[in-house]
């Protein structure tokens, strides 16, 4: 089987997932305890107003019909109206999305080089002091709550020392980098240790692989074996983890966006939850899920390109 059919089959597998995602986001609204219309309109709404809104939302129709029109609307880009901002949800998403994407990319740019460096140093010194030190750092990194670190950083580096702005997104690329530096660093301090642990484990596992012994028997130098064989074979498992982590990161960005008042999707999400802006919650959940599926797909295709075994 060649790579084209692999990608084709992989795309086909996504269809049921997309249907499932639409079902989940559709039924999310159904989980609201009580009548959403009454919650939105408040206890003093008249029966007529309630009935009018029910009709406007289509709640008087059978559930399958509601679902079908939901899917139809979604496919045409209509994610409903924000109850709070009185604008289409899609407009809100498009307005807030770039900031979160910038933040995620920023975090990856900071984390990945550090991860690879630390993991390689640790793996090549397995059991010796550099490895132990990196292990301690990575364990600590996993236990430190990002929002706590964020609060401390914002006040110390932001307010007290005044090195970085502590809220907003700024204007222009350089200003973005400046504004988002602290959020990106606090997130990286959590992400890099997680990735390091996994890459280190993969590297060490590959170091003990049989083909490494075979390469040594052929007289190939250690440095070459590490670069050409061990590193390549360790990339695959780490790549998969990275896909999971990016999805996690999109979710994790919520907290930093709140701490540093970055007007991104996460801040929008929390605002909507606190303000009971149900259609924004629903739309955002859908957008997040589609983004995750796209990332997973990209990673799978990338993996298939590297690994000759997956496209069999």
């Amino acid at each position: 089987m060649n790579s084209i059919t692999f990608i084709g089959r992989r795309l086909l597998q996504i269809v049921p997932v997309l249907i499932g995602i639409s079902l989940v986001s559709f039924f999310l609204i159904m989980m609201i305890p009580g009548d959403p219309v009454r919650i939105v309109l408040g206890p003093r709404a008249t029966e007529a107003a309630v009935a009018a809104m029910r009709q406007e939302w289509g709640l008087d129709r059978p559930i399958w019909a509601q679902y079908l029109s939901y899917v139809g609307n979604t496919l045409t880009g209509d994610l409903g109206q924000s109850l709070k901002f009185r604008v289409p949800v899609l407009d809100l998403v498009l307005q807030y999305l770039p900031r979160t994407m910038f933040l995620v990319a920023y975090v990856l740019v900071l984390s990945l080089p550090a991860t690879i460096l630390m993991a390689v140093i640790a793996a090549r010194n397995e059991g010796r002091w550099p490895d132990q030190l990196i292990r301690v750092i990575s364990i600590l990194g996993m236990t430190i709550p990002v929002f706590w670190l964020g609060v401390l950083f914002a006040r110390y580096f932001g307010v007290k020392l005044g090195w970085f702005p502590v809220s907003g997104y700024g204007e222009g690329f350089v200003d973005h980098l400046h504004h988002l530096f602290l959020p990106a660093v606090s997130t990286s301090l959590w992400l890099a240790p997680l990735l390091t642990r996994n890459l280190r484990a993969a590297l060490i596992e590959q170091t003990e692989a049989d083909y490494v012994a075979a390469s040594r028997a052929k007289g190939l130098p250690e440095g070459y074996i590490f670069r050409r064989h061990i590193l390549r074979n360790s990339v695959l498992p780490t790549l998969n983890l990275l896909g999971v982590m990016i999805a996690f990161l999109i979710g994790g960005s919520v907290v930093v966006e709140i701490v540093y008042a970055v007007p991104g999707l996460g801040a929008l999400m929390v605002g909507s939850v606190l303000g009971r802006d149900y259609f924004v919650i629903q739309g955002l959940t859908l957008v997040y899920a589609i983004a995750t599926v796209a990332i997973t797909l990209a990673i799978d295709i990338f993996t298939a390109a590297i690994d000759p075994r997956t496209s069999e």
């Binding site: 089987m1 692989a209 049989d210 083909y211 012994a213 075979a214 390469s215 040594r216 028997a217 052929k218 007289g219 190939l220 130098p221 070459y224 050409r228 064989h229 390549r232 074979n233 590297i306 690994d307 000759p308 075994r309 069999e312």
Partner: protein
């Protein structure tokens, strides 16, 4: 002068129970142009010795003694690194795991050439093609860009050999190079090694557990046990006139030297009937694997029926179909006039008691969390044949029967040897007093001396308990000694079947003839070389 001289080699591994000596004071010489066999059972230190020559031991190993190559002392990493690949090279047991899955065949062979000889990519590639042809890879030019997983086991081992020989080393260390391969493939690899030795004077050290393999291509042999060399000499002398008691035991345990255990019956009565049995599995890509196809067989009461074949022949699938672990997709298995596939409820329970199985892997066939006694007792009380305590008592009797000391009752599989685990497996199978016992490669993971004991045990149990036995094996020599009748399988089909003596004397198909010819046998190899 000898090419390699090993003097007082010792290897110790650090462990939490203190240092463990794997190799103790081993000395031997390798003469230019010879093939030296290193034979021993598991834990004898033969592989560790071999790896120590190239400094391929893990970091926690401490190596003592001297290794001289061409008069130079291979002390220290730099000295070893200098000979690796260019002077001494090595091939391994499991070719699949010793090839980098992300590197093409051609690159595997070209890699050392570029490194040691500084060839350009194009030169190295041209040279690699020649090397692949020299190890007789068919259509080598087309396979240069193939990935390791696209090749069969035998082909992978040839690639490994080509890659090891790329820089024309003078010594090749071969660590169980054919153990993971089928017998016919093994014969091809051994032939290749022998030719390399004859044509280019390549010196070799061949590590093997199999004296049959050693006898086929080695000039001299050293016998190892418990980390020490206990005997050394010309293969002929060692085989015909072993000095050490253990060597005698090892030679006596060779399948070809075992006593004839088969007892063909006078008036056979049918017990099982396989009628046109087929097992097909759908594959991921929408195709169909015909694991077993159109098999007709009858198995007689009280006989020992052998099923032989190479990997992928479908012999294990047949066994699993008979015990109803697999439902056939076509045909029927008949037992006492009933179709096994249709059994349900009490009939099925009765069938489960009547037909039992012993498995290949000694450790994987026992639940690691249960003691030997619990494992043997479990079927008895679960089938309601006795209370739990009575079952535990009965388990002890079963342990006596399989000659397992009662003091092992509370041990878990990890604290038992392979042979002991197999005895537990046999006792568990016999706990329900079955009439048919299927033994699926039960001795293939065991040392030959242990194999001989297990075969003797099975023969005794067969007589005492009036058992019918189906013995599945890739080892024709064992089947020849142990079974009354034999069926030969290939590619999911029954090739031929008949009384053991007749089939071996006059095989009616070419495949069976090849299989018999390829089976390594110590005595036959000695006779042929005389």
């Amino acid at each position: 002068m000898s090419l390699v001289s090993v003097q007082g080699l010792s290897v110790t591994f650090a462990s939490d129970k203190g240092p463990v000596a794997a190799v103790r004071n081993v000395s031997f010489d390798l003469n230019p142009g010879e093939i030296l066999g290193i034979v021993g059972e598991s834990g004898s230190g033969k592989s560790v010795t071999c790896r120590a020559l190239l400094g391929l031991l893990p970091r926690r190993a401490t190596v003592g003694g001297r290794i001289l190559y061409d008069g130079r002392d291979l002390a220290g990493a730099a000295a070893i690194q200098a000979v690796r690949g260019r002077e001494i090279s090595m091939i391994f047991q499991n070719p699949a795991s010793h090839l980098d899955p992300l590197m093409t065949i051609g690159d595997h062979v070209a890699e050392p050439l570029r490194f040691h000889f500084g060839l350009s990519a194009a030169e190295a590639r041209a040279e690699a093609l020649k090397l692949l042809e020299s190890v007789r890879i068919r259509d080598a030019a087309a396979r240069m860009d193939a990935w390791p997983h696209q090749l069969s086991g035998g082909m992978k081992q040839r690639v490994l050999i080509a890659s090891a020989l790329a820089c024309k080393p003078r010594l090749l260390l071969a660590d169980e190079p054919t153990t993971a391969l089928d017998v016919t493939v093994q014969a091809g690899i051994l032939q290749l090694l022998r030719d390399l030795n004859r044509e280019s004077g390549l010196t070799m050290a061949l590590v093997s557990h199999d004296l049959g393999v050693i006898a086929e291509i080695c000039d001299r042999v050293i016998v190892m046990r418990g980390g020490e060399v206990i005997e050394a000499g010309l293969v002929r002398d060692v085989v015909t006139n072993p000095q050490h008691e253990y060597t005698r035991l090892l030679i006596g345990a060779q399948p070809g030297r075992l006593p004839q255990m088969a007892e063909p019956q006078e008036a056979p009565a049918g017990l099982f009937e396989l009628k046109d049995v087929a097992v097909h599995f759908p594959t991921r890509s929408g195709g169909m694997v015909r694991a077993v196809d159109g098999v007709n067989l009858s198995i007689h009461k009280g006989e020992c029926f052998g099923i032989v074949g190479e990997s992928g022949s479908g012999k294990s699938t047949v066994a699993r179909t008979i015990v109803r672990l697999i439902t056939p997709t076509g045909g029927r298995v008949m037992f006492e006039g009933k179709s096994v596939g249709d059994l349900a409820g009490a009939d099925l329970t009765a069938y489960r008691r009547a037909v039992q199985m012993v498995f290949q892997s000694p450790f994987d066939s026992l639940n690691p969390r249960m003691t030997a006694q619990q494992t043997i007792a479990e079927p008895i009380w679960r089938h309601g044949l006795a209370s739990k305590s009575a079952a535990m008592a009965r388990a002890l009797q079963l342990m006596d029967m399989v000659e397992l000391p009662r003091s092992f009752a509370t041990r878990r599989p990890r604290a038992l040897s392979g042979g002991q685990c197999q005895r537990v497996g046999i006792a568990r199978a016999l706990a329900l007093s079955p009439r048919l016992l299927i033994a699926d490669e039960v001795t293939s993971a065991l040392d030959v001396t242990v194999q001989a004991q297990i075969l003797r045990l099975l023969t005794r149990l067969r007589k005492e308990r009036d058992l019918t036995v189906i013995y599945i094996s890739h080892d024709l020599t064992v089947v020849r000694k142990f079974c009354d009748r034999v069926a030969v399988f290939q590619g999911g089909r029954l090739v031929e079947t008949g009384a053991t003596a007749d089939l071996f004397a006059s095989p009616s198909t070419g495949y069976t003839r090849d299989l018999i010819a390829a089976a390594p046998d110590m005595d036959q190899a000695m006779a042929e070389r005389a």
